[in-house]
Subunit: 356 residues, 2 copies
C-alpha cells in the first residue's frame, strides 16, 4: 500500500532523492566506491560541498550579498548556543520572541550567556498565535525568532524591522516560501524537514556581523572558523550533506522556491478549507498565523477519535497524531508531500462526516 | 577494477553495510518508508538506537559496569570542548598527553576552560613515537590521551595508571583491539573509521564521574542531559547511527573485538614485515609504537616515487598518500580492510624492488 508520510521531521523527501542516495551508497559517481567510504577531502566530495553551499545561496537569492552557507553537524539545537556564543556581547543582552517549544529551548541556552529578554510571548494561550506589536530594544546584540512552529502549527508571516541583527530558526519552513531573505543576518535550519535527512544543519550567515562578541569561542562553535575552513573545519557529515544536495537539486529543477511556494499554498489551502468546512473538525491555531507546513487541527467531538484514527490508518496515512503538548492532529505537509496525499486525507475527513 | 580503499577516514566499511544501508534507504524494515524519512521517535528507530547503544557496551565488555553509550552529532572535535566543559573543575586543571595533531586540537579547546598541562609530548620529533615516563598530577580533573594517531601512525600500547578520570580519544582505533576498557572513564570516537560513516560520534561514559565540574553547561554540551534523554536530547543523526549499528552487527557476527584483533594483527604484520624487509622502504614511526591501523612509511629514495605511485594506482589502490605533515605514504588498514587488499600493496612493493 502507498504510504502518506505526515511525520513532522524527519519527514518525507522526494522519491528521486532516495533512489539517488541509495545508488551513491553502492557506487558514488561511478568511482567504484561508496559515498560512505570516500574521503571528505576527495575531489568528488569537495565538489558536493561546494555545490550545496552555492545552491543554498542561489535558491535564497543571497548570492553576492555577503552571505556564507555552512553545513554543520549537531542539529539546530547546537545553534541555540552557537548564536549567543558568536553574537551576544560580553555584558550585552539579546532579544527573543517566544513562539513555542523550540523558541524556548533557544532562550534557555541564551540565558547561560547573558541577559535574555523575551520581547513577546504567546505562552499563555499555548502558543496558538504569533505575538504582535512587540518592540525590540536597539541596544540588544541581536533579535531571535522561530519562523515556523512545528509543534503548534503557527508561522510568522512577516518579520520585524530592526537595525540589530536578525537571527531566524527556519528549521521547519526553509525553502518553502518566498521571502526577502536579506532581512535576516543568520538563518539556521536542521536539515530534516525540507532540506534532507537528519544529521546536518544549514547555517546562512551575513559575514559582516561576526567577530564582535568579545568572547573566546571554542573552534567548533566559532562561525568564523567554519567559514574560513569552507565548512570543513572537521569531518563533515558526508552522507547527510550529499542527500541534502540531492534535495536542493530537486527543488531547483522544480523551479525553486517560487514554484514550490505555489504548490505548498495549494496543499495548505486544500486542507484548511476542509477543516473550516467540515463540522466535525476545527483548526487549532489563529487563522492569520496558520502554518503552511504543519497543519494542526482537532475533532470537535473526541468520541469520533477511534473511528477517524482507524480510517486514516487504513488508507496508508502515518504520522498524523498531534504533538503531546497540543493534542489532536498535525498534518506536516512539507515540500516533498504531493497534493495527492493531502487529497487522501481530505477524502477521509469527508468520509467521516458522511458516516457520522 | 576492484578498489583497495586505504583512506584514513572516512574509510572502507564492510560491503554488507553498504548493501543493507542502501536497501534501508529504499525501504526500511519493510515499512514502505525510507530510513531517511521516518521519525526518530518511531518504534523502529528507537529500537535501532537502543540496540546500537547496548551493542557498544557489549563489544567493549562494559555491560553492567556503570557506563552509558551515546551517539552524538558534531564529530569528535566537539568532544574536545565537551570534555573540559563537563569535567574540568572551575579553577581546576587538566592533564593532556600531546601525541599529534588531534591531541593538539583537544589541548587548544581545553585551554579556553582552564589550566591545561601537557604532561608529555613528542612534538620535537614530529610525533614519531608515544611519550613515556611522564607523570600525571593527582589534583588534575582528568587525564586526556589519544590512543591512535591517524596522521603519524603511532598507537599507545598501554595506558597510565592514575586515580583521576582517564579520557581517551579512540577515533581511529576503537573496536580494533582488546583492551581492559574499564581503565577509561570516557572513550569517544568519531564514527568514520571503524564504526560507520561520518556524521555521528560515539561517547562512552562512566556515569559516576559526571556532575562535578561546577560549570553551567549548555544542554547540547551536557553529557548528563544526553544520558537522561537516552541519546535523543535532540533529533539524532538517524542514518549515520543506523549505518553504525550495521557495522557493529557485522563486527559481532565476526566474533567481536577478539576476532578482529587477530585479523588486524595479521594485516599489520604483513605490511610492516615488508616495509622492514624491502630495502626500498622504511617505516616512519618508532617500532614499539607502530599503529595497527595507520601504517606510515616512506621510500628510501624519493626518485622512485613517480614509478611507485603509478604502480599502486594501476592496481586499484587509493588513498595511500601520506598526510602533508608527515609525507611519504600511509596505509590505513581499518577493521573492514581485507588482508587480500594488504597483499596487493605488498605485492606492488615487491614488484618495485624487482624493477629497480
Amino acid at each position: 500500500m502507498k504510504k502518506h508520510n505526515y511525520s513532522a521531521g524527519p519527514c518525507i523527501l522526494p522519491k528521486e532523492v532516495f533512489e539517488k542516495a541509495a545508488q551513491a551508497i553502492l557506487d558514488f559517481n561511478n568511482s567504484g566506491l561508496s559515498i560512505l567510504e570516500i574521503s571528505h577531502r576527495s575531489k568528488d566530495f569537495v565538489a558536493v560541498m561546494e555545490e550545496a553551499r552555492a545552491l543554498v545561496l542561489e535558491l535564497l537569492g543571497l548570492e553576492g550579498k555577503g552571505y556564507q552557507a555552512l553545513f554543520l553537524a549537531g542539529g539546530a539545537s547546537l545553534e541555540f548556543l552557537m548564536v549567543p556564543y558568536n553574537l551576544m556581547k560580553v555584558d550585552g543582552k539579546a532579544a527573543y520572541l517566544d513562539t513555542g517549544t523550540w523558541a524556548n529551548n533557544a532562550i534557555k541556552e541564551a540565558k547561560l550567556f547573558g541577559e535574555t529578554l523575551i520581547v513577546g510571548s504567546s505562552k499563555a494561550e499555548n502558543y496558538n498565535h504569533i505575538p504582535k506589536n512587540y518592540s525590540i530594544p536597539a541596544d540588544a546584540s541581536y533579535f531571535h525568532c522561530t519562523s515556523n512552529n512545528t509543534i503548534f502549527g503557527t508561522q510568522m508571516k512577516s518579520f520585524p524591522n530592526t537595525d540589530i541583527p536578525v537571527v531566524c530558526d527556519m528549521s521547519s519552513d526553509i525553502f518553502s516560501r518566498s521571502l526577502d531573505f536579506t532581512q535576516f543576518d543568520i538563518i539556521y535550519a536542521g536539515a530534516q524537514k525540507n532540506m534532507g535527512p537528519a544529521g546536518t544543519t544549514l547555517v546562512v550567515i551575513k559575514e559582516e556581523i561576526l567577530g564582535n562578541s568579545g568572547r573566546m569561542i571554542p573552534g567548533m562553535l566559532d562561525y568564523q572558523q567554519h567559514i574560513a575552513k569552507e565548512s570543513m573545519y572537521n569531518t563533515p557529515p558526508v552522507f547527510p550533506v550529499y542527500a541534502s544536495l540531492l534535495t536542493l537539486q530537486w527543488l531547483k529543477n522544480l523551479g525553486g522556491i517560487a514554484a514550490i511556494e505555489k504548490i505548498n499554498e495549494a496543499k495548505a489551502n486544500l486542507l484548511y478549507t476542509e477543516i473550516d468546512r467540515n463540522p466535525l473538525f476545527k483548526g487549532v491555531s489563529a487563522v492569520e498565523d496558520r502554518s503552511l507546513m504543519n497543519v494542526t487541527f482537532d475533532l470537535e467531538n473526541e468520541a469520533h477519535q477511534e473511528k477517524f484514527d482507524a480510517m486514516w490508518k487504513a488508507v496508508g496515512i502515518s504520522g498524523l497524531t498531534g504533538h503531546r503538548s497540543v493534542g489532536g492532529y498535525r498534518a506536516s505537509i512539507y515540500n516533498a508531500m504531493p497534493i495527492e496525499s493531502v487529497q487522501v486525507l481530505v477524502d477521509v475527513m469527508k468520509e467521516l462526516e458522511n458516516k457520522i
